[in-house]
Symmetry: D2
Subunit: 512 residues, 4 copies
C-alpha cells in the first residue's frame, strides 16, 4: 500500500464496515508512527514492542533487501517470477527454508569488504537494522546504564565478536593508527610500540586477545587491600616508565570475579593522559551496574579512555556473539570498523535489535532495578550460609556483581604424617571438587578457587591463578548476582549451596 | 511509515547513500503494489510469493487486529504500555508466545456469533485474510481447476470443518431453508422432508454426516458396468418416486476409490431439476482432476446442483481442517454461513492463504500438470506389476485418480477338505493382511478390499463393503496418483508393491 | 538414539570430556522423564515447561507420523530419499514450508472418518497429542477450575469447534441417541422430540446452534430479582409440562453478561432429573470462576446434567477455535465423538497442548488467582467512576465475571416538544454511541445496552435485547474482569471510561 | 523416554492399537538411527533430512544445554520450577522469546575463553553441534567439492568470521607460531617476519586483512596472458629473494572475478616449499568448482600449502557470517582455534548444520551439478549478447565462475575538441554508469570496470583497479555463474543485459 488511504479504500471495497476499517487502520498508523519515531529519534521506545510489531518491522526491512523477491521457498516454480536476478558470486541465496526463516529473510549480513559499518547496496534493510541497533544500544547504555553521552558513550560500534576478539581488534586498530605515523619501511627496525600493559585479571580471553593481536603483554601485578584485590597504581607507573614509548596501550578491567574488584580506571586514566598512552577498558559485563558506569564516566572526565569494550550477551540477555565498543573518540570507532575486514554475520545484531525493541527503555531499567533489588538479600543470605559453616563473605565493596565466600575452615587440617606439599595438593584437589559437586546439583556459574594454583598461559606463569594475585590468602568460591537472576533461582542456589557445603564438610571430616 | 516518501527521508537521514535507499524502497513499493493488487483484484498472483513477502503481509494484517498492541511477550513490564485495553470476556489474549507466534499474532479466529462470514470489529486483519482467502481459493478452482466461474464456482464459503461435517452443515442449511416455508408449529406433524438419497459410496464420513444432520439416509445402490461401479440412474429415479416430497436432497460423489467411478452427476442433476430436489455433490478431492471439473460444469449446465463440497487439504496440500463449499446459488452460500453458529479457528484459512500465495496461479497449475504427467506412467507400471503376478488393472476409465488391481489369482485355491465359508473367511483375512504388509514396508494409502465383506454403519448393513457394490466380483487393491505425488515416490511404491506381492504369493503358495 | 547409553558413548567418542557428557545427558534424561510422567500420569506438570522442552516433544511426536520422513522442504532432491511413499488420496503432504513449520510437521489432523476421537494409523504422533491434550485439559478443569472429577468433569471431549457449534453437536447427539429407540420408518409420523427449552440469554450463537441442529427453540423467559436477571424456575416447570415428551433437552447458561446471572442450574438439574429430560449447560467462559464450578458440581450432585460445554479460548487464553464438552456420562461423550463425522484440524488442540504444558498446574492456578485478586479493585473502581456520574453498579452478586453500570442519569431529559417514541429512539441511539466512543478510545469488550431494543433472531422477536429480559428497567454498560486481564489494563480502562463518560455527559447536556 | 520399549508401553496404555504404535515408533527408531549414524560416522547423510527431523535433533541438542530447564518463556510463574540455577556472570539467559526461538534455545555460542574449538561444560548440545558441523562440512568439501581428504581437506576449523577476518586470524596464527621460536625480549629488535607477499587481486577484504593482522603487505604484480590476468611467478620468485626471512607468508587466491584467473597455486606452492615459507590460499567461493579443487589438491601434492580459507555463505548458500579454514596440517588448525580468544556466535555454524543436513550429500552434489550444467549455456548466451553489440567474451579459461565481456566498442569515440584526459574521465564515468543501469533493472552482481581506474587502499595506490593489473587493455563487465543460480534467473539476466546494452549504446551515440 502506498498510503493508508489506499488501504482504507481497498478494505472498504471488501464490504467491511467502514468503522471496523477505521479502527484497524488506526492500529496500523500507530505502528507506522512507532517505526517512524524509531527511525527519526533512534532511541529505545519507552515501552517494549510486541513480537508482532517487531516482526512486522523485520519483514519490512527484509523487503528492502534485494534477495527477497523470489518465489516461495517451497515452490518448484522456476519460471521467471523473480524481480531480481543475481549474477554475482554472493547473492544472499539461502538453501534452507528453515535457515531463511530464522533470519527473517535477511541474509546479506552487515558491512562491506572495506568496513563493517558501511552500507550495503544490495541490502538496504540489513543496513538500516545495523544502524538502528547501534543507535538503540547506545541509547540503552546512556539512558539505561548511565554512561555519559558526551564522553564514555559518545560513539560506538557493534561487533559480531566476543569481548576478547573485540579487544584484539581495538588493539589492532591502535597499532595501525600509530603505524600510519611511521613509514612502513622502518617499522621493523625502529623501536616499535608493541607492548600492552595489562592489569592482571585471571581470565584467559583478554590475555590471549593481546597475543592474538600480535602484541606483547606485560602483566602489571595487583595488590591486596583487605580482602580485595585492587589495581596497583605504583606498579603501573613503574611499568610505564620502564617500557616508555614501546607501550602501545594500557588495558584495565571493570567487571571481574571477587575478590578482584574493578580497576581504579579513573586513576589509571589520569596516568595514561599524562603519558599520552591509549587506555582500553574491558567492561565485559559492567553495564548492568550503575556504580561501574559512574566509575567509567569519572575515568573519562579526569583522564584518558580510548575504548570501553562490553559484551552484548552478558549485559542484554542475548545469545553469545556480540560486543559493543564505546569511545569518547569518534574517529577511533570509525577506524575499528575499517580494521574488521569484510562482511559479518548480522545475527548478533538482529538478536540485539529484537531484544531492545522488546524491552523498551522501561523493560531494560526494570531488569537493572530487579538486580539491584536482589543484591541486599543475595549478600545477606550468602553471609548466613557462610557463617553456618564458620566461613565469611569476602569484603570487596567495589565489586557489586560477584561475591566470594572463604572456604578455609571447611578444609580438613593436615594429618600428622602429611608433609606440607602433599597436604596442599590434596586439599587443593578437594576444594576444586566442591565446584563439581555444585555443578552436579545443577548449580552453574560458581567458581571455586583453591590457594596457590599455578597456571601457564601464553608462555607465562601465573601463581594463585583465579584470584588475580600471586599470594591470595584464602581458598574461596564466588557467585554472581547478575542481570536476569530471579529471586527463586537465588533461593534454589542458597538451598543447594547449603546442602553441598554440608556434605563437603562431612566428607572433609571423614578424610581428616 | 505513512508514505514511502517519509521512509525515504528517514533512511537518507541515517547516512545511507540515496541510490541504495532508492533501490531498496523500490522493492518495498513493488511489494506494496503486490498487496494492493491482491486486495483489489482478489485473484491468485501469477507467480508465487516468497515466504518473506507472505509474512510481511501476515504481520501487517495482525497489526490491524486489536490484540497486538501490547508489550513484548517475554516482557515482565506491566506498566500501561498497551494501546488497547480489553474488558470483554474474550480479548484475543494468548498465554504462550509459542502459540501466538504460530498464528502470526492472529488470535480472533473468523466470523461472529451469528455468521461465520461476518466481519469482526476487533479483528480487521483476520477479517481481511478470511475474505481474501475465499477469493483466492475461488480463483484457484476457476482458473486452476477449471470450474465454471458463473455456475459451479460462482460463489463459495470456506469452512474450518472436514468434508463430512461441511456436508452435514449444507444439508442442515437445506433443511432450515425449507423449514422457513412451514410454520414451526406444524413441523412435527406434517410430512417432513427428512430423507437424503445417497448414491452408495463406501466411505464413512459422508454417510455419517447425513445422520449427524439428523436426517435419514436412503442408500441408492450402484450398478456394475464392466469392472466399474457406476451410478444406477434407474434406481435414483425409482427412489425419487418412492420418497417423493419427503426427499430433502440427493447426494452424489465425484471423487472416490476405484472401482467406484465418479457419479454421473450430470444425469442426476437433470433428474433433480425435474423433481425440484436439491442436489449436493461430494467432490472431496476432485479439484485436482480437470475431467471431474468438466463433469461438474456439465452438471450445472444441464441440471440442478446446489452445492459442491471439496476438501482443502486433499486438493491444496495443506494440513487437515478445511473445506470449501461451492455453489451456483449465492443465497444458499450465505445461509450456510449463518448456520455455522459462532466463531471458528482461523488456522485452516491461514494455511490456505499462505499456500495459495506461495503457489501463485503458475505453481498451482504446475502441480496439476505434474499429476497429469505422472498418470500414464503410473497406470503403465501398475499394469506391469499386475501382469507379473497374473493380475490386471481394473478398467474404470472415468476414475483418473484411483486405480485398482485384481488380487484374484494370487490367493491360494481352496484345500480339498475346506468348506466354502471357511475358505472365504480365511482368504479374506489373507487378502486384508496384504494391506498390513504394505504398510509395514512404509507404503501408505493403498486399500486392500477382499470380496464380500459385510460392514454395519449407522444401523445399516453394507455387503461388499469397500467396493460400493453388493456383489463386486473381485478382490483388489487400490492406489492413487494424487496431487503432490513425486516420480520417485511412485518408483518406490512400485518397487515395494512388487516385493510385497512376491512375498504374498509365496506365503499363499505355502499355505495352499 | 536407542538409549541414553548409546548417546553417551557417541558423544564421548567426539572427544568431549565425560563430565560434560554426564551433565548434559542428565538434562536429557530429566526431560525424557518429564515426558514419560506426562504419558503415564496424563496430568498437568506441576510447573510449566520451557518452549524448548515443548518443542522437543512436538517434534518427537511429528516423527511418529508417517509424513515426516521426506527430504528437506527446500530441497530439489527428488531421488528416492523418502522412507515412506504414499499412494492414498490424502498423505499429509504440505506444499508450503511455512505452513508445515507452523504445525511442527503435524498435518494429519485428528480423528478418522467415523469418529473424531479415533486413532489414526498414519499419524501416531497426532493421535497421542490429541489424547494427551484431552487428559491435560480434564486435569486443568479438575485440579485448576475445581470441577468434580467424578461428576461434572468425569469425561470429556475436545472439539475443534466454537461453543455454539459444539452445543449443536451435543444436541444432535442427543437426538440421535433417542432416534435409536425408534424405528426410522416411524420417525416422521410419530410425535418426535425436537424441542429445546432454552433459558433466555441474549447471545446469538447458542440460539442459532439449536436451530442449526434442526431443532425448535422454545424460549423460557427470565425474571428480575432486584437488578439481576435470573432463571424463572416456574416458567421452566410450566414449559416442561406444556411440551411434555416433545422436549429433547433443556439448555441453560452459566457464563453471561450482567445483569444476567448464571442460571440456577442446580434447580433446573433437579427438574430435569424429575422429568427425565437431558440438560445441557453452556459454560462458555465459566471455568475461570470457582463459584461457577461449585454451582456446576452442585447441579451434578442434586440433579441431571448431561453435558457442559466450555470454550477453550475464553478459559485458557488460546486463539479461537476449540471447545471442551464435559459430562458425567462417558457414553454420551463417546457418541459426540461419533457424530462429528470426519477428521478435524489439530490446530486448536495443538494450541491447547502447548499452552497447558507451558502453564503447568501452578501457572494455571496463578492465572485464576490473579483474576480473583483483581476482582475487588475492579468492582470498587467501577463503583467510583459510576458514582462520579451519578450512576451505580448493578447488584448481580452471582455474576462474578461481568459487571454492569447504569446509564440512566447520564441521558438527557426529554425536550418539551418531544414525543415519547422520538425521545426513546433518540436516547437509545445516543446510548449506543457510547460503545463506539469507548472503542475509538481503544477500549474493547464493553457492551452498551439501551432500554427496550427489539431484535429479530431466527424468526423470533426479542424485546429488551441484550439484557435477556423483556423489560429491563435500565440502560447500562458492562465490563468484564476476565482471565488474563492485567492490573495496568484495568487502570487504563477506568481512566478512559471516566474520560468517555465525562465527554458523553457534556454531549448529552449540549443536546438537552 | 529412556527407551523405545518404555515409549511403546506408554503409548499402548493410551488405548492406541499396537499396530499403529509399532509403525509410528518405527519412524522414531529410524530417526534415532539417523542421528546415531550422524554422530558415529560424522558424514553427510546420503539424502537430505526433513525440517522436522532437523528440528527434532536441534531441540534434542538444546535439551543437553544447561539453560533450557526453565519454565515457559511466557510464564509469569517464578516459583522455583527450574532444574538449574545459575549464579555466574553468563548463564545463557535470553530475554526475548523470539530471540530464543530463532536459536532453538541454544544460547551459549561455541568455544571457551581459551579456544573456540573447546567444549563448554554448560553447553553440551552446542558443543556437539559445533563438532558435528565441522565434520559435515569437511565431508562436504571432500566427497562433494573433491578436495583430497588426506591433504587439502585433512583438517579444518569453522570460524564465525568472514573470509577476510579468517585470513587475518590465520596470518596471526602463523606470526604467533614463529614468535614462539624467539624470546619475546628480542622480538622488537631482531629482523622480524612481518611481510606478506600477496598476489595482487583487486578486492579489499583480503588486502585489509593483512593489515588488520598488523602485517605489511607486499603486492606481487600479475601479468597478462592473452585476455587473462595470471600469476607472475617470476615476480614471486624475485620478491621471495628480496624480502628473504622477513616474509611471514605468501597469500594467493583461487576464486576471483574475470579477467583475473585463479592463481597458479601449484607453482607457488612449489616455490613456498623450496623457501620454507607458509602459503595461505584465499579460496573464498572456489569450493563450488571441481577444477579449483583439483588445482588445490595438486598444490598440496607438489608443494606447500598451510591453509585454505573458504567462505561458508558463498559455497553453501547460508547467510553471511562464517568461514572454513582447511589445512593439511592439523596442528596449525589447532593453533587457529586458540588464537580466536573467546566464545563466538553459534549462529553461522547452526545455519550450516541445518543446511548440510537438509541437503545431504546428494543435494549438495546436485547443486554443484546444476551449476556445471548451466555453464555452457551461460557462456554461449553471454557471447551472443556480446556479439550483438560488437563486443566479445574475454578468454579466461581457468576461471570457470566469473566471465567478462568487453565494453570497448560501445563507448563513444572522442570528440574532436576533447583532450585525452577529459575523454578518458568522461568515458570512465559513462562505463561505470552501466553498472547502475543494470542495478536499476534489478540485476545485481555484475561488475563494470572502466580502464585505468586508480584506487588508494591502506596507503597504497592501485592502477587499473578492478582488473588486478596495472594496464588492463579493456573496459569490461563481469557476471558470475555461481552456485544457486537458476536457469530462469539466467534468462532474465540475458534479457535485461541485452536491453541495457541497447540503451547504453543509444545513450553513447547520442553523446558522441
Amino acid at each position: 500500500m502506498n498510503s493508508v488511504d489506499e488501504l482504507t479504500t481497498a478494505l472498504t471495497a471488501l464490504h467491511i464496515p467502514s468503522t471496523h476499517v477505521t479502527v484497524g487502520v488506526a492500529n496500523l498508523i500507530a505502528s507506522h508512527k512507532d517505526l517512524r519515531t524509531l527511525l527519526v529519534n533512534r532511541r529505545l521506545p519507552e515501552h517494549g514492542w510486541s513480537d508482532v510489531q517487531i516482526q512486522h518491522v523485520l519483514y519490512t526491512m527484509a523487503t528492502l533487501d534485494t534477495n527477497n523477491k523470489r518465489s516461495g521457498s517451497s515452490s518448484s516454480d522456476d519460471s521467471g517470477s523473480s524481480r531480481w536476478c543475481g549474477v554475482g558470486e554472493r547473492e544472499g541465496r539461502v538453501y534452507s527454508a528453515l535457515v531463511s526463516s530464522r533470519h527473517f529473510g535477511l541474509s546479506h549480513g552487515v558491512g562491506r569488504s572495506g568496513d563493517i559499518a558501511e552500507p550495503q547496496p544490495k541490502a538496504l534493510g540489513s543496513t538500516v537494522l545495523a544502524k538502528l541497533t547501534l543507535c538503540l544500544v547506545l541509547d540503552a547504555v546512556r539512558r539505561g546504564s548511565g554512561l555519559h553521552p558526551q564522553t564514555a558513550a559518545k560513539s560506538g560500534i557493534l561487533l559480531p565478536l566476543c569481548t576478547g576478539m573485540s579487544m584484539a581488534l581495538v588493539l589492532g586498530t591502535l597499532r595501525q593508527l600509530q603505524d600510519n605515523h611511521q613509514t612502513s619501511a622502518n617499522a621493523a627496525i625502529k623501536p616499535y610500540r608493541n607492548i600492552v600493559l595489562w592489569s592482571r585479571i585471571d581470565q584467559k580471553s583478554c590475555f590471549k586477545a593481546i597475543q592474538s593481536a600480535g602484541l606483547e603483554c606485560v602483566v602489571v601485578p595487583t595488590r591486596l587491600a583487605g580482602d580485595a584485590v585492587v589495581t596497583d597504581l605504583d606498579a603501573f607507573q613503574a611499568s610505564l616508565l620502564t617500557y616508555g614509548d614501546r607501550v602501545l596501550a594500557v588495558v584495565t578491567t571493570t567487571s571481574c570475579f571477587a575478590p578482584r574488584v574493578p580497576d581504579q580506571v579513573d586513576a589509571v586514566a589520569r596516568l595514561c593522559a599524562e603519558q599520552c598512552v591509549p587506555h582500553v577498558i574491558n567492561n565485559a559485563y559492567g553495564l548492568q551496574s550503575s556504580d561501574t558506569s559512574k566509575l567509567l564516566n569519572r575515568a573519562c572526565a579526569v583522564g584518558r579512555v580510548d575504548a570501553i569494550v562490553c559484551s552484548t550477551d552478558k549485559n542484554f540477555m542475548v545469545p553469545i556473539g556480540g560486543a559493543i565498543v564505546l569511545s569518547p573518540d569518534e574517529s577511533l570507532i570509525q577506524n575499528v570498523g575499517k580494521v574488521y575486514a569484510g562482511r559479518a554475520s548480522a545475527s548478533p545484531m538482529l538478536d540485539l535489535f529484537i531484544t531492545l525493541c522488546s524491552m523498551g527503555l522501561r523493560g531494560y531499567q526494570q531488569l537493572l532495578t530487579s538486580r539491584r533489588i536482589l543484591l541486599p538479600t543475595f549478600t545477606e543470605r550468602l553471609k548466613e550460609v557462610a557463617n553456618k559453616y564458620g566461613e565469611r563473605v569476602l569484603e570487596c565493596r567495589t565489586n557489586c556483581i560477584s561475591f566470594g565466600v572463604t572456604l578455609d575452615g571447611l578444609v580438613r587440617p593436615p594429618r600428622q604424617d602429611e608433609d606440607d606439599v602433599a597436604y596442599r595438593t590434596s586439599v587443593s584437589r578437594d576444594v576444586s571438587s566442591l565446584g563439581a559437586m555444585l555443578f552436579q546439583r545443577c548449580v552453574s556459574g560458581t567458581r571455586v578457587v583453591p590457594r596457590g594454583t599455578v597456571q601457564r598461559m601464553g608462555g607465562m606463569e601465573f601463581c594463585g591463578f583465579g584470584s588475580s594475585h600471586d599470594a591470595y590468602p584464602h581458598a574461596y568460591l564466588t557467585a554472581a548476582c547478575a542481570i536476569g537472576l530471579t529471586a527463586s533461582e537465588g533461593d534454589d542456589f542458597f538451598t543447594r549451596l547449603d546442602q553441598t557445603l554440608h556434605e563437603f564438610q562431612k566428607r572433609q571430616r571423614r578424610r581428616a
